[in-house]
Amino acid sequence: MSKVRRQETAAAWLMSAPVIALLVVFLVAPIVMAAWVSISDWTGIGSPFSGGVHAVGLKNYGALLTTPGLPQQQLGQSLRNNLYYVILVVPIQTALALGLAVIVSRQRLAGRGFFRTAYYFPSITSSVAVSILFLYIFGTTGVINAIIGNLGAHGPNWFDDPNGVLHMVLSGLGVTSAPSAMANHGFLGVSWWDWLAGPSVAMVAVIALAIWTTSGTFMLIFLPAIYAIPGDLTEAAIMDGANAWQRFRRVTLPMLRPTLFLVLTLGLIGTWQVFDQIYLITQGNPAGTTLTPAFLSYLTSFGNQQWGQGAAIAFILFAIIVVLTIVQRMIISERRADRAS
């Protein structure tokens, strides 16, 4: 190796050293430690590497996934809650972000900058400030209930109402109790009837918060992609007599497909991690209907000192996110292959 190359190699490692050190110490090592804790009986006292701590195999994972009991039921409940959260937040925030982006990207639009700023502003606000705002807005004497009151109806006690929205719809239709097949069988300690409860009223308010906060962020991801659509493509569509909706459907949307997948992937990854708002607003209440795996993992370890189980929940969540990302990648590459052939 020449002297110049040796110098270059040394400089390169030197310049990368701080980032490598930080990533190893605060990312790789912590994950390895937590993996150990998740298969140990560490109780939070002393170092998890001290002599008194033993490996217990997959016991912690078993307690969560296979052994009937409170841990399993809480995990099942948190997965159900988060699933409804994902199912509602991801499509709505994506559609809203796309709609707002399409509108504010128009060439002739008075106050374009103002609207863009207005829609994006919630995205830069901290989760704490936004949580406070929503505690107020959805409070019993809050903004939403004042509006409902003006319309002559009575608003719920949002953050104290554990009733599932789907259950409420069903009871409106006269179905008030579960068919026994659904009440007596279930998955992860939660009966099928409860799996179908829908998000609780409290969770609906948290969902509204998430959509309100993140749609601006994703609008900002859509905008450059919209500007990158060649102008002559849109012009050609106008020449062919396409109306605004047809242009959106046949030109804009197909051109935005890669960005759409990016936004959906980011949304999916983000929504499975909801933590701050739960910690700040509901702490998993009422009746566990806003528990999420991320918050449950925190609660189990920091709250109940069940570090092994808490870490195991974190890894189960990690696995869910990784699997979803891989599935989504596969769908994208399959589509690409379809188009190529």
Binding site: M15, L22, A29, V128, Y136, I269, L280, Y298
Partner: protein
């Protein structure tokens, strides 16, 4: 009978468009107006007139209480954490980004792949692990313990690398001919060219660390180390969090949002950069 003309239909379309825009603007802005107004209300006023952003009597009670709650200490801690995290990220990310983009060395591909892989680790999964490693290193409940995990950032390395890849090699050649070494070339020639990227990175790190709640939460326990997010968070979810203190809570939310709002409005062009410039108006 004539069908409505194209002009009329256009007009109706425009009106509908602006109505929709205005509706959403209200939806996104009104909560903040309510926040500002309610921060200056009395508790009874806040509960009695939730839809009115204007207080019946303007009072500073909430802000006085906030000061009692150690707000200034939280502010100082937030500043310390944010300044160090941002400086560290900007410096280290650009150094590593430059090495990965421009220097030829064995292991570069592997290192880059590792950084990309690490970017995929979801942050919330790291809460327990971060706590464990801070305990083990005796950094729990210290400033470095709150700063270093937030300084760990792979995405910034990626942003800087992408920029340095786009710099034309002839610029470095010229510097080399003038006798500048690798570090000098990086520091005095290439890095100044990256001003927009450095701005973006600065804004991202500022926002990320100023607004961070969960990492700071698991990195300390003593109230004297609370930042704005965890301190105010205590007001909401802690012992005091009995719903009725809306003015206090909203005043806290308002005060902690002002710095990010200033940064946002001053540096809007870097944040809302959307590639519009490429389009001829």
């Amino acid at each position: 009978m004539r069908r409505p003309g194209i002009r009329q239909r256009r007009l109706i379309g425009r009106v509908l468009l602006y109505l929709a825009l205005a509706f959403f603007a209200v939806l996104y802005i009104y909560p903040f107006l309510l926040d500002i107004g309610t921060a200056f209300k009395t508790e009874a006023d806040a509960a009695g007139h939730p839809l009115n952003p204007f207080p019946q009597h303007w009072v500073l009670t909430a802000f006085r209480e906030l000061e009692q709650e150690d707000f200034l200490r939280w502010l100082a801690n937030s500043v310390v954490v944010t300044v160090f995290v941002t400086l560290g990220r900007v410096l280290f990310d650009s150094m590593a980004g430059y090495a990965l983009a421009r220097l030829r060395f064995r292991g570069r591909g592997g290192l880059f792949a590792a950084i990309i892989a690490v970017m995929a680790v979801p942050g919330v999964v790291l809460l327990i692990p971060t706590f464990l490693v801070l305990k083990e290193l005796n950094l729990f409940n210290t400033y470095p313990g709150m700063i270093l995990p937030l300084m760990t950032d792979a995405a910034g390395v990626f942003i800087m690398r992408q920029f340095f890849l786009s710099v034309h090699p002839s610029i470095e050649e010229a510097a080399k001919i003038d006798g500048a070494g690798i570090f000098r070339t990086f520091w005095s020639v290439v890095l100044p060219m990256a001003r927009p990227q450095l701005m973006t990175l600065t804004i991202l790190s500022f926002q990320g660390s100023w607004n961070n709640f969960s990492t700071v939460l698991v990195a300390h326990e003593s109230p004297s180390l609370d930042t704005l997010t965890t301190g105010v968070g205590r007001l909401v979810s802690g012992q005091l969090g009995a719903g009725s203190q809306y003015p206090l809570q909203l005043a806290a939310a308002l005060a902690m949002t002002i710095p990010v709002a200033i940064v946002f409005f001053v540096f809007q062009k870097y944040i809302l950069r959307t590639g519009e410039g490429a389009v001829k108006e």
